[in-house]
Amino acid sequence: MDAIDTVSANAVAKGGPDMLVRGALQFITFTIGAEEFGVDIMVVREIKGWTDTTTIPNAPAHVRGVVNLRGVIVPIFDLRARFGMGMTEPTRMHVVIIVSVEERTIGMLVDTVSDIISVAPAAIRPVPEMGLSIESNLLEGLATLDDRMVTLVSLDGLFGTPRDLIIPEDAAAPEVLQPT
């Protein structure tokens, strides 16, 4: 079993929160290509290095497969692919962020993890309806710090369970299991 690689632990440690603002939200920031993203720190369980996954048959391209995380089977999703920015070619230097979504544990494959930032809720701008290359429902908002713009991702939007497919009774269609 591969040891857990906390590749960017150093980066995280030296970063530290920018400024502790009352009521501020904290995010772990990570990069995909040249863009910087952030995810709510409260849902992050651990950060590990990339390890080979076991492929899930006939799964969408962004589902890289599953790994064994201390006895639990955890799926790994390629966030770059999910955002439609191409497929990642992962190496040992790539990072997987393990998060909790609803009651599931899943992993997100990203390039690097950079920082922990503290953002006042007021400083988060809503996601514009159009203009971004990423579907708006996958994102929580945009945060600006100094000279950077961090795109905050929405885990619910990315991995939450869609509403149940219950179609209301169609008055026109007959109830088929009744006799003629």
Binding site: P57, G65, V66, G71, A173, L177, Q178
Partner: protein, 675 residues
Amino acid sequence: MASTDQFKNTYFEECGELIEALYAHLGDFAEGRSDSDTMHAVFRAVHSIKGGGGAFGFERLVQYAHAFETLLDILRSQGLAPSAETTALFVVSTDILADLVDAARGDRDLPAGFEDETAALLEKTAALFDRRGRNLPEPKEAGEPIAQERDYDIVFMPHPDLFKRANEPLLILRELKRLGEARIEADLGSLPDLSEIEPEQAYVGWHIALRTSVPLAVIDEIFDFVRDECELSIVDRSPPIAAHEETVAQLPAATIAVGSEGAKSEASPSRSIRVDVEKVDRVVNLVGELVINQAMLTQLSGSLPPDLCPGLVNGLETLSQHLRELQESVMAMRAQPVKSVFSRMPRLVRELAGQLGKEARLVVTGEATEIDKTVIEQLADPLTHLLRNALDHGIETPEEREAAGKSRQGTIHLSAGHRSGRIVIEISDDGRGINRAKVLAKAEARGLIAPCASLSDEEIDGLIFLPGFSTAENVSSISGRGVGMDVVKRNMQALGGRITVDSQFGAGSRFILSLPLTLAVLDGMVVAVGAETYIVPLTQIRESLRPVEGDIHPVIGQGDLLAIRGEYVPLLYLHRHFGVADAVTDPCRGTVVIVESEGEGRIGLAVDELLGQQQVVVKSLETNYGPVEGISGATILGNGRVALILDIGGLRKAAAPGRPAPAVLAGAGAPTSLQ
């Protein structure tokens, strides 16, 4: 009384057991299997539920239980067993009691008057049987609201036999002293000579002058236990309020012989202990980890030169055997008879049939079949929905049935059993069956199938499980949620199980639920397909072989068939089915594993090679990812990598002719539909 809240869980657990026992006893009455103790047991059960309910302040429950208990008490004290009608009343009364308990447990309120009709019936019946008049509760003393101190003269003269009940005057005097200022004088007037003293008789009395601010009732209460064994007077000497004299109160004299309840021999003394589920789960997990460890050790030892340490291999073999036994024992701990979830079903059927104006009876078999506890709890919802479906859509009205030449009363069979390494639960009815023409029409109308698609009977039946097919059912008063057949199917899949239906139009339908026997560990054959490894459950493997070219017969529209000893078995190419690159594509250069799932017919899985047998710990793929067609779970191999476990039943369906290859799922982080 916040401290009692911690016992609520125990109470509700106990209520569950008591109610189950109640139904069992009432069943005994109905079948004529009861004995003299049954009535007492029924009484005690209701009595206990009432008692605990009172401690937590569940007023409605207590009041209702009291009416129930009173009738039971009257009957048992007269040595009577209930008639058929009374037993039926008791069954309904237990239904209501169970509802009240449930409401209390969920902290909600049942509609006003919910239990009134039955309670009234119970009371009326009690009045009929009760020839001795009702027991009146003892009148309570109203305390005198005096706040200031008053002086009391208390004369306490015990009768000689006061000690018989282990009462101790010293303790009474001590308590009096605690109420205020007391001056106590002993009255030795009745004390005989030393030589005549009986050590167990009381001779000494006391005069107590007590100054206290507590009301007279409180003083009086201290003497509660000795009231009929002494002369007692408490006189208020303080002016100006009128003196109040209290004299010896009388207990009701009636003592009725209730019948000897002497020591009875218990049929089978309880030889079980209660263990927290978490403790058992921890053991199960540890055993699972042990199995993985052992597999790893075996694999490592396999790479050593055979002569290096011969004892090691033997040792590991023995270890493996012991672990297998340990694992079986541990899984058996968690297994419980399905009875606990089946027992609610007769009532459900009774009520639903009544509501829907149908006549139906439920025949239950195989309740002793044991299933893992966690699975049992999750069965309740699917079973409830299937029964509801059988009553709603399956069983016809009595008139329709008569017109069709059937008996007015429909029959629903609920059974559980073990079959080829799995648990199989069947719900079958003798109702109308599935109207395939209508199912097709509805599926087309909903855009679930292409118009003019040609489907086999089996496939049409399977349409009812598609999400989007079921309509939002009325919220059931039993499950409290809308449920559709697709949710039932998903529930089953989450448990690693499967649901299929078998129906004959006009004759009835049969739903078959199949579940893995043990959730945690299974014996598997590891197979390689390209760079991937999969696990095939050993219990489902019939044989494996390398076919020769002449045995493979391509059939248009049905794929390749493999001829084996005169039979034709459909071939499923796993590399194609799972989209694996770099695999052996010619089955004659690889291996074909012939598998079968519970009498559904065999298929041949074309793989690259067999890598060996291994006991694997089943881990859920569903928990964090979701259901995957053809895969029932995952496991961790000795090398730490994840391998997927094949779902033979699911694959068999895929090998069925006419079925297209599974489409790639679009978007979302988890598959929500298999379309």
